[in-house]
């Protein structure tokens, strides 16, 4: 039998799942192809934070929409996704950081984000047991939050199936056939040919390789980020704690489970597709966590892993059509894919169906100059 789809989505992470869902809701026949199993890439390795505190106006608008969507997902899926608005607290340990956050707050206030700079005493009131040494205060937004990446992604994928779409696991795209500059079909590792006029590349850290199948070069490079999780314990505090010092870290207590989960951005960065866990991280991350909140010192670490951030030159994603008719890309999320996913899924579905989205995504265009970097990467 000849297998056809209106849209083939490559990648069953948050981006592919959310976009596929909003396309299926508009009655398109969607097939999602996943080379491993859902969330096996970056989505399932992220720590689940959701924030509106950005400096790029487009990112702030996208995140306002995402927060709106996250708060309705339990109704949409008829299932809890562990969405919890516990806030984000960016700690300032230097005048330099403080001024970065104050400038960011000025921008964010223009978008009605309820963010404010609070004193170090107020930080300690919110974070039970916070070490306030050298602390000048923090940028706090109580409507930021967290959700469970597996619950959200599987929620979208189950929605696609209910709407008549298909998810094929362990199915890798090996070839994309293009004729007269128009996508015709994809060939999978099983040798099957699936016919479609539209392919969405939602493959995160593999977006560059998949784009090469249509001879398209996209500036997306993976780099390794590591994470760990502790045993569950009683609730200590609600926000994601962000310490952007060179040897800082960020972590949050899972609302659903009580585990502390966190990571840091290595300096210098760690490019490449290696996602093995390192002993360096296993000792360094606990040191940084215990420095911020000393009372965590007796809590046990139970698991450590690594994943890829998919970086673009300016720290913003690429969400666009491409010079190949029918080939779309939504990738290069720079570590923000899970939180951007619901809104970008909605907007990408609009781009595919209507040719443009209700929020203009020009600054996430494929052919932009990549000149202006996000300050709160």
């Amino acid at each position: 039998m000849k297998r056809t789809a209106d849209v083939i989505v490559i990648g069953a992470g948050i981006i592919g799942a959310a976009t596929g869902y909003y396309l299926a809701k508009k009655k398109l026949k969607v097939i999602v192809l996943e080379k491993n199993f859902p969330c096996a890439g970056s989505t399932g390795r992220c720590i689940g934070g959701i924030r509106q505190q950005y400096t790029h106006p487009l990112s702030i608008n996208v995140m306002k929409e995402s927060v709106k969507i996250f708060s309705t997902l339990h109704k949409e899926f008829n299932k809890d996704v562990e969405w919890f608005q516990g806030g984000y607290l960016f700690l300032a340990h230097s005048e330099d950081k403080k001024s970065t956050y104050l400038k960011a707050i000025e921008i964010q206030k223009g978008f009605d984000i309820p963010v404010q700079f609070i004193s170090s005493d107020d930080c300690a009131k919110i974070i039970n047991g916070l070490n306030t040494e050298d602390l000048l205060g923090g940028a706090y937004c109580p409507t930021d939050g967290q959700a469970n990446p597996f619950a959200v992604t599987y929620g979208y994928l189950n929605g696609i199936k209910k709407l008549g779409g298909t998810l094929l696991n362990f199915t890798e795209v090996t070839k994309i056939n293009v004729r007269n500059n128009q996508v015709q079909s994809v060939i999978t590792n099983n040798g099957d040919e699936l016919f479609t006029p539209i392919v969405l590349n939602a493959t995160g850290p593999w977006a560059k390789n998949v784009s090469k199948l249509v001879d398209l070069n996209v500036p997306i490079e993976p780099e390794r980020h590591e994470s760990l999780v502790t045993e569950a314990c009683e609730r200590l505090f609600d926000p994601m704690l962000v310490d952007y010092r060179a040897d800082g870290c960020y972590f949050i207590q899972n609302f659903g489970t009580g585990h502390f989960i966190g990571c840091y951005t290595p300096v210098p960065n760690d490019p490449g597709d290696n996602i093995k866990a390192s002993s360096e991280f296993m000792t360094e991350m606990p040191r940084r966590m215990a420095r911020l909140v000393p009372r965590l010192k007796g809590i046990k670490v139970i698991r450590q892993w690594a994943g890829s951030y998919e970086m673009t030159p300016d720290g913003n994603p690429i969400v666009d059509k491409t010079p190949i008719d029918g080939f779309y890309i939504s990738a290069g999320m720079c570590g923000h894919g899970f939180m951007f996913g619901p809104a970008l899924g909605k907007y990408m579905a609009e781009i595919i169906i209507d040719g443009k989205s209700s929020l203009a995504l020009d600054d996430f265009a494929l052919n932009r100059s990549f000149g202006k970097a996000e300050a709160l990467k």
Partner: protein
């Protein structure tokens, strides 16, 4: 009743729940782990994963030897934050 046997003791996941997700089409240990959290607690699956593999084998007919196990991740045993941090300083 048999179906209420707790298989994953750390996360308190029962045989009934495991069979239910297998019947929903989740036929790899990696997916069962991510959906139910079994094997994500203190023991990291050392107590339950073999049993879940056997249930999966019984329900799907794939031999246990062909079932792919989730990646074992460090540390082998839960360790307190201050002990790990001290290693860094030494």
């Amino acid at each position: 009743m048999k179906k209420d046997i707790v298989i994953c003791r750390c996360e308190e996941i029962t045989e009934r729940e495991i069979i239910s997700v297998i019947e929903q089409g989740y036929t790899s240990l990696n997916e069962i782990k991510r959906i139910l959290r079994c094997g994500m607690g203190h023991c990291q699956g050392r107590s339950c994963m073999n049993i879940i593999a056997r249930i999966l084998s019984q329900k799907t007919g794939q031999p246990v030897s062909k079932i792919k196990f989730p990646t074992s991740r460090p540390p082998l045993k839960p360790l307190p934050i201050d002990i790990l941090a001290k290693y860094k300083n030494e």
